[in-house]
Symmetry: C2
Subunit: 357 residues, 2 copies
């Protein structure tokens, strides 16, 4: 039976990098007879321009019907002054929430070929391989009530709510433990339990889930300390699990440790491993349309999709190997270029991966 | 007229490092005839042991009556299993809130003598000098309602509230602009306005305050991006202003960039520049009582106190110069020690600063 993949190139550099990822996906599809059927639609700013909303109902319906979603990136200055209720990011948050994609996997890996690119000392980051598991459909991103209002004294005020239920915490903790189990067997749960009520419940539930994983070593860390430790000694971490907001901050910090955020893919999974896959970097409007963006994170997102949603390990491995090979060949887009390497554009990089595959 | 200083050594290494800071303060008091009168009390775990609560009413009354408060650090494993309502951190949060110390100044400075200690490449951090202005008495740390409860279906859930009012944002934004004005004239306001209602108000009010500071260059950054940029290129920042929770995370990350968190003081000020001064590092229970902790952050907190609460610029400068001198002499506590330097303990380091002064 054929598998449906919905491709959402999005905004900024999205369409350019997605074009290369689609080349790679089409080749893998043929070579490994995966039976994928691709269809395309818009999300974010592109959807605002086309449908008047950042996620159209028909697009959401197609995403729900699809077996996996491949996303470029959303947002850009063009839509910065739009009504906050329909800004591009709202489309992203809505699709995450509506598809129930609560488990966000964000690897931070240092590619040995790119070790130079990190702003950290080589000995601090060499061999870095962290997986951040971020809760993606709960917490302060979606908490109700949230409101902006005028008080009786005429002053404006606004507030957000940070809620977590036991079941929300339990299912993301399980993802964390499951991932740790097949990796380095170490899970660090990050919270702010010395201040927040939601974090106190978080910590308690993670402790309970830990009983089912005696083979995984669990530790707890406050988020401020985690932000420090990532800079001081990032290699102490294997898998980190944390809430939506802390995960947003720490995963970006961790990805930057590698110096090659243009290389990092991510997966957002539901309870049945149906997922949406996207690069960690954003829509980079400043370089959009110039043909210089790095397509590798999107290509590696294809690999993650094959691995996590379809169990196509051989094809996933092959794509990762092809990416490694083009790096070995010295090919670099501008963001990861260094003296002595060959600078190439988006399409040339995509073609090189296709060639290597 | 004499000035009252309330000294709260606190827990862990607190008493040790405070003893050295008090030596320096006493000398400065004599030398510059500052007319300070010191008194001592307990906060945090030490207060729990003595009074049964982390901040006793009488201690709070003395803090309110004092002209400035000097704090060591609070917390430790001894009190980890205590009722959350009276854990040591609650004392810290209460004194901040009750004294109205909304303006938290956290410098992240790289001492040239300690450049080696950073985990970042020298060229990325050389000359680093950032000031983080953190809102300290509002937001999710104090927001009501907050609750932990059992739902009808038997599931536990907990939530916190993140509120900000216009006046809370305005006064901390002013601190940020005022600081930027006397420094590099660049202010970066950090929020998550693409997701949070409170951040949207934050950004709007900061923009309004900016009109009174045409000489300061204002930028806005999302917190996830700020966490990345601090790693990628921290020297792009001069002053950063942000909310309580984001400030907690980013100031710890920034301080670790310098590799010398044992060197960093902080100030928490009210509307009249009455303040509480403390080192950025915590109570480090693992090395408490060993006489090896670094007292320099606490000594530099004395210098900040002289500068911000008492306008004693000459005395403040002299203490900073004395600290710089002992570093030049090659004296180092264990946390900042490197090959070829002289390792000293807490008291020897304090004595050396006294000597230099
Ligand atoms: C665009 C924004 C809403 C989003 C988030 O905060 O989740 C992004 O930063 C991310 O991490 O995917
Ligand atoms: C101890 C804790 C409550 C405190 C905070 O989060 O504010 C500390 O981390 C700090 O930054 O001073």
């Amino acid at each position: 039976m054929s598998k449906q993949i919905l491709v959402l190139p999005g905004d900024g550099i999205g369409p350019e990098i997605m074009a290369e990822a689609v080349k790679v996906l089409n080749l893998a599809n043929d070579k490994y007879t995966l039976g994928f059927e691709l269809s395309f639609d818009d999300l974010g700013g592109a959807a605002i321009d086309r449908y008047g909303v950042p996620l159209a109902d028909e697009t959401l319906a197609r995403a729900k019907a699809a077996d996996a979603v491949l996303l470029g990136a959303v947002g850009g200055p063009k839509w910065d002054t739009i009504d906050p209720a329909i800004r591009p990011e709202r489309g992203l948050l809505k699709i995450r929430s509506q598809l129930g994609l609560f488990g966000n996997l964000r690897p931070a890996i240092l590619y040995p070929q790119l070790a130079e690119a990190s702003s950290l000392k080589p000995e601090v980051v060499a061999g870095l391989d962290i997986l951040i598991v971020r809760e993606l459909t709960g917490g302060i991103y979606f908490g109700q009530p949230r409101e902006s209002k005028v008080l009786e004294n005429g002053e404006r005020m606004a507030y957000d709510t940070l809620p977590y239920s036991e079941s929300e915490i339990r299912r993301i903790a399980k993802v964390g433990f499951d991932m740790a189990r097949v990796r380095g067997k170490k899970l660090c749960s990050v919270d702010k339990a010395n201040v927040l009520a939601s974090s106190q419940l978080w910590r308690a539930v993670v402790e309970e889930v830990a009983k089912d994983y005696p083979d995984v070593e669990l530790s707890h860390m406050y988020v401020d300390n985690a932000a420090m430790q990532l800079v001081r000694a990032p290699k102490q971490f294997d898998v980190m699990v944390t809430d939506n907001m802390f995960g947003d901050i720490l995963s970006d910090e961790a990805s930057m440790l590698t110096g090659s955020i243009g290389m990092l893919p991510s997966a957002s999974l539901d309870a049945n491993n149906k997922g949406m896959y996207e690069p960690c970097h954003g829509s980079a409007p400043d370089i959009a349309g110039k043909g210089i963006a790095n397509p590798l994170a999107t290509i590696l997102s294809v690999s993650m999709m094959l691995r996590y949603s379809f169990g196509q390990v051989a094809a996933a491995d092959a794509i990762e190997k092809a990416v490694s090979l083009v790096l070995d060949q010295g090919l670099r887009t501008g963001d990861i270029w260094s003296e002595g390497k060959t600078k190439v554009g988006t399409a040339a990089m995509g073609d090189a991966v296709v060639e290597a595959l």
